[in-house]
Amino acid sequence: MSEILHPKEKHIKLPEGSVEKQTTTLNLGPTHPATHGVFQNILEMDGERIVSAEQTVGYIHRAFEKLAERRPLYQITTLTDRLNYCSSPINNMGWHLTCEKLLGVKTPKRVDYLRVIIMELSRISDHLICNSVVGVDSGAFTGFLYVMQYRELIYEIYEEVCGSRLTTNMGRIGGFERNFTNAAFEKLEKFLKEYPAVLKEFENLFTRNRIFMERTIGAGPISAERALNYGFTGPNLRAAGVDYDVRVHTPYSSYEDFEFEIPVGQTGDCYDRFLVRNQEMWQSLRIINDAYKKVQEFKGADADIYHADAPEYYLPSKKDVYTKMEALIWHFKIVMGETEIPPGEVYQSVEGGNGELGFYLISDGGRTPYRLHFRRPCFVYYQAYSELTKGAMLSDAVIVMSSLNLIAGEMDA
């Protein structure tokens, strides 16, 4: 017993020189509840101040890029789901857009607008999680529980559209696998009707909350130049004051038909990031409203268009497969992955939940990509973490992490 209470010196293995040095090493992660994901921060602490931070990532690396080299295009969609799993439809659509660019498939306007609706819904759900988690980390749990109900409603819309909730595998090359049902539109209407009041109340809980402001203002700030040099994109870059948005700079999926504002911050600290995300949710709502109006304008036969006319890549309907020879052939070729893709080199990016999500695809004319690289926004900007937290308090380390919206799945690919 006394052995345990007073362990002999030989049982204690302190690292060399750790008694002499004046700082403490603290492991934050890899499975700490505050990291909201599997990644590690080794903090060097002087009292409660952070002297330096070293990040370790890669705990859930799943070799997506290698796997993609042996998969036909349509099977890669499921890999993209698992990058940023808070907004997987954006990843799916981004991948489909990349394929369509390579294959030269032109999508009809209705498909574009439906995609815009889905992408903006997932942006809302992504920002909702991020912002409410910032709240949780500053001690306000209510907002998180309160908005969860509306993320659930968004997931129900996904469910109506594609049948699954988190890893959606939504859409096909050229459009959607089926038309939106009336139930999906009803749920969308319910969301559009009820959500503004909820978001307003969510903002009321936080935006001018003294405690929240004290915790977030000045925590983890970054200047515009440093943010650009670090490859920041998305809300984090905009919070630093740069109005770069892929939806505006290189419009895809007919974003040029919509009018919306890009909110920007000034100091790039946690509070600005929070405000930018909140504002973006309002803008997303505006885009969804517009897109829904545009979708409703399609009447008669036009309202049944939900995919492009690309028989080589778009799976034919089961009825046609059983009755038509040509459809049967396409079905077989697509499912067996025997469609040859044209050689080429494509970079396509979309504005993901937390930044510019890029797909760099090289095809050598085979059946699978020769090389596929994902430009994962949070992998790129997480390296700025040690600069953001230098000199900050330990409690700031946690809040900076959650307000950067780090998703381990995206970081590790």
Binding site: V57, G58, H61, A63, E65, K66, L67, E69, R70, K101, L102, R226, L228, N229, Y230, G231, V242, Y244, H249, T250, G344, E345, V346, Y347, S349, E356, G358, Y360, I362, Y370, R371, H373, R375, F379, V380, Y381, Y382, Q383, A384, D412, A413
Partner: protein, 167 residues
């Protein structure tokens, strides 16, 4: 005056002459390459030139071409000029036995982890990198897994008794 692919091409040819070559425009993005010992000079020029201003490194990765003897590895930079909103792709080829390429971390802080990732998967040795070690794979790994000579596991193999995973 908005920057166009032609102007960029002209500026580069003026400055580097024959050193920058293989200009292409796949899907509208200007793509070119340079010898590997020139990569930092070209990047520096692209970064500092007051007309070009490619100050945002979007992406950095590598590609393995086992059949191109002497130029097996390609390091690919995607650069973005945010002011004129134009992107370019810049490639550097190196042979696989001496995969030494100068690091871009002095110009772009974002290159730090991207280069570590590229090293991790392809073994490209970025000369001058402050902390070139593996990032996503385990430190003990002694090969570079994205090279083409390492195939994925054959999914139809039957010699593996792995009842727990239903194979």
């Amino acid at each position: 005056m908005a920057l166009t692919n032609e102007t960029i091409k002209e500026r580069l040819s003026q400055k580097f002459g024959e050193q920058v070559s293989n200009f292409e425009e796949p899907y509208g993005m200007l793509t070119f390459e340079s010898p590997k010992d020139m990569n930092l000079k070209v990047l520096q020029f692209l970064f500092n030139d007051e007309e070009l201003r490619f100050q945002f490194l979007t992406d950095l990765t590598a590609v393995h071409y086992p059949d191109k003897i002497g130029r097996e590895l390609a390091v690919v930079y995607h650069l973005h000029n945010l002011v004129d909103n134009i992107r370019i792709r810049f490639k550097v080829f190196t042979d696989i036995n001496t995969p030494d390429v100068f690091t871009a971390t002095q110009l772009y802080s974002s290159a730090n982890w991207m280069e570590r990732e590229t090293y991790d998967f392809y073994g490209v040795n970025f000369v001058g990198h402050p902390n070139l070690k593996r990032i996503l794979n385990v430190d003990e790994m002694d090969y570079f897994p994205m090279l083409k000579q390492y195939p994925l596991e054959d999914q139809t193999r039957i010699d593996k008794d792995d009842a727990m995973f239903g194979r």
